[in-house]
Structure formats: C-alpha cells, structure tokens
C-alpha cells in the first residue's frame, strides 16, 4: 500500500472528445504495469495526467498518501520516458542525463550519470549531441535521463518503439532487470502485446479511454473478458452461440446447429446469447478420414489458406456457415502442410473454450476473426 499509484475515476476530455473515460486503477508499488491498447485509445493521455502535463477533467490521482492531482509536474516524484524522446538538442548526452539531478540541486552528478550511461550501454557517447545518435540510442538516452532520478514511478511511453527486434529484446530484458533491481514502479505503455505480456506483472488492456481488462498476462490471455481483449491480445475464434443447458461443470452451447461444451468456470455469462471462443493454437486439425476424439468440440471446414511460418503453420478455414476460422499448428512432423481446398475437421478440448457475453443482435454476422482491427473499434 505504501506508495501505490492510484487513479480514481480519472476522466480527461479535449473539448467534447473523451480521451480517458472514468478510469480507475491501482498500480501496486514496485510492480511492472503495462498499459496496452490500440493507437489513440488514451494511453499517452493517461500517462500525462500522472506526470502532471495534463490535468484530468475530473477524478484524482494519488501516490500512496500524497495527492498528485494539482501538483506542478516538477513537484511530482515521477519521471517520463517520452514517446518522441524529447531530448534537449542543445545539450550533450551527459548534460541531458544530468538535467534532472542538477535541477534538484545535486552537484556531484558525474558518477551517477556515468553509471547510468553504462547501464544503457552508451558509456562512450556522453559527449555527443542527441542529433548525432541513432533512433535507438536516443531512446536509451531518454530512458537514462528519466531513470537516473530514481523516481517513485517511471512512466514509459512506448520506449522501445524505434528499436530493431534484437535490441528491443535486449532492452526488454534490461528494463525488466533494472525494474527488479531498483524496485521502481514502472507504468509502461505499449501497443506491442508480446512486449506487454513478456515484461509486465500486470497488463491492462485499454480501449476507447477505458480499461477493458486488467490482470496477470496469463489470465488475460487465457480468459479474456471481452471480444475486444480476446482479439487484441493474440487472436481468437469467436462463434455466436446460445447457452442451452448445463451438465456437471460444463455449459452446453449451441451454435449454427452444432453442439459445444465449455467449462462454466471459464464463462463470463452462463445464459442466453454468448460468444464461444477458442485460441487458434488450442485447435487441432484432423486429417481427412480421421475422427476427432469423442468428447472434443469440433467443427467441419474447408481450408482456404495455408501460411507456413517455420515453427508453425497457420491455416485458415471456412466453416459450413461461412465463418473464417484460424488454426495454428506446430510443425512437429516433417510432413507437407495441407493444401487449400482440403476438407478437414478441427477440434479442441472443451476446457480450452471460453465464453463471453454477447449483447443481443451481435454476431448475427460472423464475428471478426483476425486481430486485424487497427482502430480498436471491435464490438
């Protein structure tokens, strides 16, 4: 509790546009908290209200017992790694990093600055100007400049966006290590779902100014709370279904004339209209002529596309009712992938299903299959 970061009903409006909508969240002290969401969903705005660069239209922000709302930014024990770095172009890397320490009246900053630059592997770059650095190096300077102040909360606004994959992985490990070491609360904004799951203790999925779901990565991935989350974090196959009964711990569902089962413990709604969901990698393909195991959920279909991706093959198939479904299949045997046009049966353990609420009228059309919803306006 000591100094958890707490946002209470924070709303931020720009004119009539609501960028952050009645957001309440508690970020435990010392945790690595990832804020995940599509572009424009209000992540940066949320960080800015915490940093004090934007005052919330309503609501309050607390750091432990201290109210942050209303405090000037330079009075808050919070630092930001900006999305666009915002390095001071007229100062050397060293002076950029020393900026915060000097403003707080510290004189002997050389050692701290040097250590910090070593930490982000920029020891030899101290005398350069930001314009003489690559994008990734600038990003690391921005990180060092914020981190050196040892704030209580570090706000990171897509700090790894400009890095190539290798450096990105390296920095992710590095960030995680630093975070565990210094025990600072990290509030990390990203729209890279892998990065969020990979690094954070807690992931909050944001959509249109609200948090749709919050929890440990496994929980969010395995049991998403809404169709948006199920397709934003990875992909899901969603079928419009009705709950028709219950047997033991399982719900009985009917969709497009087929029967399915799903554990009641993995259901967000236990009656009426629902979405039946399953992750593509949980679904198995049965070659023509073979039978799926008796107690599995299964669907018949025709392969429409086959994407071989080395470690796995991604199949797209069309169900008899015209819905597209995707299946990831690990390439464990040496055989050729199935060719499009093949009739197949796909099946999965009922316990891998999850059940989401479906408002009336949704899903008369087939549900969106792919995470390809860049604007985040999924139902």
């Amino acid at each position: 509790m000591a100094s958890d970061l707490v946002l209470n009903d924070v709303t931020k409006r720009f004119g009539t546009f609501t960028a952050v909508d009645d957001l309440s969240v508690t970020v435990p002290q010392g945790s690595f908290f990832a804020l995940l969401g599509a572009s424009g969903c209000g992540k940066t705005t949320t960080l800015r209200t915490v940093a004090g660069l934007e005052e919330p239209t309503s609501g309050s922000i607390w750091l432990g017992e201290q109210e942050l709302t209303g405090l000037r930014p330079y009075k808050r024990p919070v630092n930001t790694v900006f999305q666009n770095y915002a390095l001071f172009p007229h100062m050397s890397v060293r002076d950029n990093v020393a900026f915060g320490l000097r403003r707080r009246g510290m004189k002997d900053v050389a050692a701290q600055v040097g250590d910090m630059l070593d930490l982000v592997q920029l020891g030899g770059f101290a005398d350069r100007k930001p314009a003489e650095l690559s994008g990734g190096q600038q990003q690391r300077v921005a990180l060092a400049r914020a981190l050196v102040n040892q704030p209580q909360v570090l706000l990171l606004d897509e700090p790894l966006g400009a890095l190539d994959l290798k450096l990105r992985r390296q920095m992710q490990i590095e960030l995680k290590r630093i975070q565990t070491e210094v025990g600072i609360t990290f509030l990390h904004v990203t729209h890279d779902q892998e990065e969020a799951m990979w690094m954070a203790d807690t992931v909050a999925v944001m959509n249109a100014g609200r948090i749709e779901q919050l929890g440990p990565p496994t929980e969010i991935y395995e049991f998403p709370a809404s169709p948006f989350v199920s397709n934003f974090l990875g992909q899901s196959n969603l079928f419009a279904a009705e709950v028709v009964g219950k047997s033991g711990d399982d719900l009985q569902l009917s969709a497009y004339g087929e029967r399915f089962a799903a554990p009641a413990a993995r259901a967000r709604a236990t009656a009426g209209h629902v979405w039946l969901g399953v992750r593509p990698e949980k679904v198995r393909l049965t070659e023509p002529g073979q039978q799926p195991p008796a107690d599995h959920n299964w669907v018949r279909g025709v392969l429409t596309d086959t994407c071989y991706a080395g470690v796995s093959t991604e199949y797209l198939l069309k169900t008899p009712w015209g819905q597209e479904m995707s299946v990831f299949s690990a390439n464990q045997s040496a055989g050729e992938p199935l060719t499009p046009g093949t009739e197949v049966v796909v099946h999965w353990y009922p316990s891998h299903s999850f059940v989401l609420q479906r408002p009336d009228g949704h899903g008369e059309q087939p549900a969106p299959q792919y995470a390809a919803d860049p604007l985040g306006v999924a139902p």
Binding site: F82, F88, R103, R145, N149
Partner: protein, 306 residues
C-alpha cells in the same frame, strides 16, 4: 557555404553508369556556384565596388576640394583627424544603439514568446501588428514621435502634472527621446527573428524539462533561452547595426548634443562637402560595428548564425 560545396563534391549517386558519372559530377560541382552567382554579382556591384571607391576617397589628400579636385593619396591621417574630431559621436552611436538594442530585447522577447507560443489563432494578426508600422515610411513615423514627445504634447503635459516631476521636464531633444525613437523604429527587427526561433521551439522539450524537476524559471534559462539563442543573436545584430548607423532619430528627436556618427557623416558629405573625412568616418563606423559584432558573436557562442 562550405556545407554547400561539401555536398556538391559528394560525387555521383551509387549506381550511376560509369560513363555518365563525370558529366553528372561536373554538373554537381558547378551548381552551387551557379546558385551563388546572382547574389555574388549583386554584392560585387553594390557592396565591393562602392567600398573600394569609398576606401579610395577616405585616403584622398584633404588639401583638395570638390571644385579643385582631389589627389588620390594615402592620407591615413584622415582617420586620425576623424577620430580626434568625432570620437564622442562614435561612442555615442555605440552607446545609444546598445541601449536601444537591450530595450528592444527586453520588450521584444516576451512579445515574440507570446506570439509564438501562446497566441494561438491570434498569431497572424499579432504578427501583422508588429509589422504594421512599416506601412508608413520611416521618416513619417519618426516625425509622428516628434509630436508625441513635444513639449506641448499631451504626454509631456500629463507627466508634468505628476508629483515629483518638475514643470521644466521635457522629452524631446533629450537622449531618451533619441533612444525611444531607435527602439520604436527597430523593434520589429528584433521581434521577427526572435519569433522565428521561438516558433520552432518544441513544446515537448518544455514538458520534458518540467517533468525533470525544472521550475518555470529554470526551464526558461536552461531550455527556452539557449534554444532561442540564434534568434537573440540575429535580432540584436539586426537591431544594433542599423541603429548604430542611424541619423534620422537623432536629427528629428534630438539636438546636436545627441548627434550620432550618422549625422556627422551626413553633414560632412552633404553640407561641408568634406568627402575624405566623411569616407573615413564611414569606415570607422563599419570597423567599430564589425569589432563589436565579432566580440559579441564570439561571446554568444553562436557562430552558426553568422
């Protein structure tokens, strides 16, 4: 200039066929000079040649006159005579122009800052207001100030009515009036370059500064001011240089006691017809300004501006 040549000698783009390369390279090597040609000709015709001519004139033997004709000589004593006779005017020019420049900076910086960062949709209107005085001529504007500052004008009458200000208080014909006129006339030259550099100032840097514990004053000193330094240097130069050579303000708003070097040059050329002395004074003024500007730019540490 060096940058231009630098890129030009970069050679042909990779992938250009070998035979075509020399032609392309030649064309590239020459293009910067072609671009410089019109400006170079202009400078040659209207700056270099007159300067040489003026330098010659400043070394004429002063025993001649316009009627009898001058003897081209190397009378460096002209410069000594000029300094001896008119050093107070030279000094006064530098002091008046310096004070006017500082006042312009003090007035102009907040104004430019407000226009660039805070004015929002009023920005263009405010810029027009800054430039508006240019729509009337320099002379007329200064004459207007003459009547504003005059002894029986409303301003002086109002000030005389205030306690502690005596009845013989006056504005016109004082150094203050001349400096006022300089400030008024050259303020736009200060505001516009300042505006240009403050307008480019990235607001996100100011946010970063606030986020890194800098108070508004520290943010100004450490981020805003250094980043607007090119504007400050350009503005002060554009104000100081013409102000130091100005003679209209001293002529209209001052008395011979406030005359600046420009007035002396003016009367030497046109009234006393002492061409060698006038030319020598012109060069002295140029040298004074160059030295001061050079020292200033060195100190401002902003060589890239010049």
């Amino acid at each position: 200039m060096t940058a231009l040549i630098g890129t030009a000698s970069g050679g042909a783009a990779p992938g250009t066929p070998p035979e075509a390369a020399p032609v392309a390279r030649n064309r590239r090597r020459w293009s910067p000079y072609l671009l410089l040609l019109p400006g170079g000709l202009w400078l040659l015709l209207f700056f270099v040649l007159p300067s040489v001519q003026l330098a010659g004139t400043s070394l004429y033997d002063r025993s001649g006159s316009l009627e009898t004709g001058y003897q081209q000589g190397f009378a460096f004593s002209n410069y000594l005579d000029a300094i001896q006779a008119y050093w107070p005017h030279l000094l006064r020019s530098a002091v008046y122009a310096g004070i006017a420049t500082v006042i312009c900076l003090v007035i102009g910086y907040p104004l430019a800052y407000a226009i660039a960062q805070k004015a929002g949709r009023w920005r263009n209107l405010m810029l027009v207001c800054v430039i508006a005085p240019f729509f009337t001529t320099f002379l007329v504007r200064t004459l207007a100030w003459k009547s504003i500052l005059s002894d029986n004008g409303a301003l002086v009458e109002f000030l005389r009515g205030l306690p502690l200000i005596g009845d013989d208080f006056r504005l016109l014909a004082t150094p203050a009036a001349v400096i006022c006129g300089l400030v008024y006339n050259f303020l736009p030259f200060m505001v516009l370059p300042l505006y240009a550099s403050l307008e480019r100032l990235d607001g996100r840097l100011l946010e970063a500064s606030r986020d890194l514990y800098a108070t508004p004053v520290q943010t100004f000193r450490k981020v805003t001011l250094p980043l607007s330094m090119p504007g400050v240097v350009a503005g002060t130069l554009l104000t100081f240089i013409p102000a130091a050579g100005d003679y209209i303000n001293a002529e209209l708003l001052g008395t011979p006691n406030q005359y600046m070097i420009g007035n002396v040059i003016d009367s030497s050329f046109l009234v006393r017809l002492d061409y060698p002395l006038a030319a020598a004074l012109s060069f002295l003024l140029m040298a004074t300004i160059l030295i001061m500007v050079f020292a200033y730019v060195r100190r401002a540490g902003s060589e890239e501006v010049v």
